[in-house]
Assembly symmetry: C2
Homo-oligomer: 291 residues x 2
């Protein structure tokens, strides 16, 4: 099944109408627009031409059959295919870490070929990742540009091919969506974008019952991560740490002091992004310690 | 030359009397006490027995011959030898990320053997690093437990064997000191300590003239880092990014927008620690892009 990019939402909400129903283990292809709704084609394009109401589209929502409130939705990112020969970056006045020192704004077109992104004369190896990935919250509308406990715009560098993402099921069917792909992005996303691209994302789902985890979480071949998005990095770092301690307590019966000593000696507190309405931090722990 | 650990300071200041004079390129051994002044030997030791006035000793200060105000001090960390068969960790009430959820405090003795630290039943590979490394500020006393533009307690995981650290020379001779070694520490140091150890650190110095860099900076075989310590991670992340942009402008003539696009696509904003009086963030950039 392929879900086309014209099926998009700009906020996560239980009131969104599902565009597809998918069974657990079914492999599907989700086509996405870039974070600017594919509307930027030139570095000379006026910033005023950008429709800010249409940034961060996420394709969906997808109804996952059998997903009930309180379950954990496991999302397996099997493959990501970039579907355009260039990416787009933006920065400038009031945007990102240098926002206070720019007088104007800048668009950068980043050609993509031979498995690299060509930013000026820099050849950047592609490492495609998903910026927005989430489920509907229990109540309200959360803009796709905002991260939170439902996932959303976490801009987590780690969410790429081979990654498993764990999200909460807050409403029947979960109402999953994703978008905002990046051909490459450094931790922090400091200019306010990654190398923004449209893509096809191949995923499958599982439903996990009876787990009391503080979500979102992410797993790769080597590591497990707890993620937290809060108004400040300081708050996010404390919450991400506490969420991992909670997970270790739930799944491995670790006492709080044993868990925090392990994380202090070997866990890595890492920044996902510092430029969205909430900031996102992840705590990384090697799966070596969870055998 | 060996500088023994009895020669220690508890704050960086131009009023400290040098304990040695060292020439550029001279290899020296700096012996250090652990961050608790080697006073903890048992998990049953009372927390009240800890002399908080004697935490974070740094061995020195060392007068570097030829270092003048305005120079950059290059410190090459050649080798680190752990000199005790156990490390110490602390956490508890009002300490670290879980400080608000502990009723009491905990000491953990961490045996070290066969190139591993044994924390409970976890076998943690040793990765020795330097927590406190700095020079005297131009004015005032900065406690060794506090990081800043002079270096100090940055608790930066990257500062280990083979690393080069760049620090400001604020007073004649620089008055360099280091201490607070960790056998292993995750980024964040979330419990409030790493695996605290005494050590011998083998270093040599160079003096770099006529550079306008915002310091501290760090270089490894693969990457270069700008570091910033601020009251919040949010402020530290902005400053670390701006400091790298400044460096790229000074050394490689990059425009601000070119530098920030490069950092957003490939640079990694990373957490050093979240538990000292100021919090420390580093911006990592691959040396691949600086050829």
């Amino acid at each position: 099944m392929k879900i086309e990019k014209e099926n998009s939402i700009f906020s996560f909400s239980k009131t969104n109408t599902p565009v597809a129903k998918v069974k657990p283990k079914e492999k599907i292809c989700i086509e996405t627009k870039d974070a600017l709704s594919d509307e930027i084609r030139s570095e000379n394009q006026s910033f005023d031409s950008i429709n800010w109401e249409k940034v961060n589209p996420a394709t969906g929502p997808i109804f996952i059959e059998g997903a009930k409130e309180g379950d954990v939705l496991e999302v397996n990112i099997e493959n990501i295919k970039i579907t355009r020969d260039y990416g787009v970056m933006l920065t400038g006045k009031d945007m990102g870490a240098l926002g206070d020192s720019f007088e104007r704004s800048f668009i950068k077109i980043v050609p993509i070929k031979e498995n690299k992104a060509f930013l000026y004369d820099y050849e950047i190896p592609l490492k495609p990742m998903i910026g927005v990935i989430g489920t509907a919250p229990k109540e309200g509308n959360i803009p796709c540009g905002t991260p939170g406990e439902h996932g959303g715009n976490m801009d987590c560098n780690i969410i790429g091919e081979g990654t498993t993402v764990y999200l909460p099921v807050n409403v029947e069917g979960a109402l999953f969506a994703l978008g905002d792909l990046h051909a490459a992005m450094g931790d922090g996303e400091v200019c306010v974008t990654g190398v923004e691209i449209p893509a096809e994302v191949f995923v499958s789902f599982n439903i996990i019952k009876d787990k009391n985890w503080k979500l979102p979480m992410v797993k790769t071949e080597k590591n497990i991560y707890s993620l937290a998005s809060k108004p400040s990095l300081d708050e996010a770092s404390i919450t991400a740490t506490k969420n991992m301690v909670h997970f270790l307590s739930q799944e491995y019966k670790l006492s709080k002091e044993k868990a925090i000593f392990l994380l202090s000696a070997t866990g890595n507190l890492q920044i996902c992004q510092v430029v969205d309405p909430l900031k996102t931090v992840r705590m990384e722990l090697s799966l070596e310690f969870l055998k």
